[in-house]
């Protein structure tokens, strides 16, 4: 099991591990792919710059699944991280071992939230646009977000506070006024009413069900009303997100051609061979499938039927959440259906990340903030991170 793809000898007391989707200048960034094995970036992520300036030290790079679209990291070029026969996640293991107080990483398809839920950690996926994506490997730009994972809500909140803020270098960065709403000094409206989505809580294993029940009981004990609500539309977010994510990924990874940087095949006689053999040899199977699916969604025949439909459904999902937030302060759902994944599960269904993301897609496609703690996700309206942290503190 390779947890680190690179290590730094930082001596700072406050050590942060960055996952391998976050660019660093002094350590390579591979995005879990043979294509970028050993790649040294000329720039570093804005989140890294802010953390370093605030006295935190990046102690290393944690391995990720190839371009972070898998379950928890099992598609990495460097091998699937496992522990006690179960799949695990490099960032989670590093934080659990206290080698770092927190991890920062790019949540593309929910792997960070699934890993935190299964590993018993706390993770925050902040409101889209409040943490700069400058210096992250682009995959699905319209929904991916820099996240923080730590052992508890306090550490998570502390690190988020440092990296939140407007950044001119990121075209999707929100204004400083809006970003400031996330600062921990800002007063938070307490969460009083939570909607638990029934459809999402049905097809989960016994251990995950027990986690949901435990969180529900702890919230109720603190006087927070948890209501079971049927909202089947949220389950369809997965289908729309799979389309949008694949389409954006297809475009974003088209830059990897073996010419300017990264892997180049040795097996070529002409330019077409160079492109094709480079990409064929360097990309993993899941990634190739997603590229093809995204390309098909954007094709002339399917653009309106598939991609355009996905964009319109995204609005319906946002409207669905807006309706829920008219009655409730937050939405509770699991982050995954199983307490742990195994290599056998992935071998039986290599595209399992495209079904298991039913729990994470609603927040990905809407950009809404999510705090994962106690094995479940709590989703709130935009800029409600402080309220989510306060509620999560009751059951972390």
């Amino acid at each position: 099991m390779k947890l680190y793809t690179a290590k730094s000898d930082t001596v700072t007391a406050k050590r942060i591990v960055a996952d391998d989707m976050i660019l660093t200048k002094d350590m390579p960034t591979a995005a879990g792919s043979k294509m970028l094995d050993g790649y040294m970036s000329l720039l570093e992520a804005e989140a890294v710059t802010r953390l370093t300036a605030a006295g935190y030290g990046i102690c290393g790079k944690a391995d990720v699944g190839e371009f972070a679209i898998d379950l928890v990291g099992e598609t990495s070029y460097y091998g699937a991280p496992t522990k006690d026969g179960k799949l695990t996640n490099a960032s989670v293991e590093i934080v659990k071992s206290s080698e770092a107080m927190a991890a920062i990483g790019l949540d593309v398809n929910g792997s960070i939230r699934r890993a935190a839920a299964q590993g018993g950690l706390v993770s925050v996926k902040p409101t889209y646009g409040t943490v700069s994506r400058y210096g992250t490997i682009p995959v699905a730009c319209s929904g991916e977000t820099v996240c923080v994972t730590a052992k508890n809500t306090d550490d998570c909140r502390e690190v988020l506070d440092v990296i939140v803020g407007h950044d001119d270098k990121d075209g999707t960065s929100l204004s400083e006024t809006e970003c400031a709403k996330l600062k921990k000094a800002m007063p938070a409206k307490s969460i009083k009413k939570v909607a638990m989505i029934s459809e999402m809580c049905e097809n989960v294993d016994a251990e995950t069900k027990a986690k949901i029940d435990a969180v529900r009981a702890k919230l109720a004990a603190k006087g927070i009303e948890v209501t079971v609500v049927s909202e089947p539309m949220l389950s369809s977010a997965r289908v729309a997100w799979n389309i949008l994510m694949s389409a954006e990924l297809c475009n974003n990874v088209s830059r990897y051609d073996g010419v300017k940087y990264g892997y180049r095949t040795e097996n070529y006689t002409c330019i077409d061979d160079l492109y094709t053999n480079t990409r064929t040899e360097a990309f993993g199977e899941l990634l190739k499938t997603v590229i093809l699916y995204g390309s098909d969604a954007l094709s002339t025949d399917n653009y309106m039927k598939v991609y355009d439909k996905g964009l319109r459904v995204r609005r319906l999902i946002c409207e669905c959440f807006a309706k829920l937030f008219g009655q409730y302060d937050a939405v509770l759902l699991p982050a995954c259906s199983k307490a742990a994944y195994t290599e056998d599960m992935v071998a039986a269904d290599k595209y399992i990340a495209f079904s298991e993301n039913v729990f994470t897609a609603p927040a990905s496609i809407t950009g809404l903030p999510t705090v994962t703690a106690g094995g479940v996700q709590l989703i709130g309206p935009a800029f409600s991170e402080n309220a989510l942290f306060e509620a999560a503190k009751l059951y972390e």
Partner: protein, 93 residues
């Protein structure tokens, strides 16, 4: 999705799949096409597309010439360079 369309997609995306991979991918596409029915059952006729989830303003900045990275730096990670140029196989016979 049929084999011929898949072959076109492979060419378009500079990928070459084995027969076993093609069978897997066709299965993946079949599942996704089935799932599309879930979206098709949703009426989006009067729903606007949503490209950005947050109101995004076009970023403007001063038009100041700058050279953030030197050519040498940019070529440090290149598989093959020659006298400041990236090398590729001959494209004009």
């Amino acid at each position: 999705m049929d084999k011929e369309t898949l072959r076109k997609l492979e060419l378009l995306n500079q990928l070459s799949l084995t027969d076993a991979q093609k069978a897997d991918v066709l299965g993946f596409f079949a599942n996704r096409e089935e799932e599309l029915n879930i979206l098709n059952a949703m009426n989006t006729e009067n729903t606007e597309r949503m490209v950005h989830v947050m109101p995004i303003m076009t970023v403007v900045r001063e038009d100041v010439a700058a050279q953030p990275f030197s050519r040498d730096d940019l070529q440090k990670g290149a598989p093959e360079t020659n006298q400041g140029y990236w090398c590729v196989p001959r494209v004009v016979e």
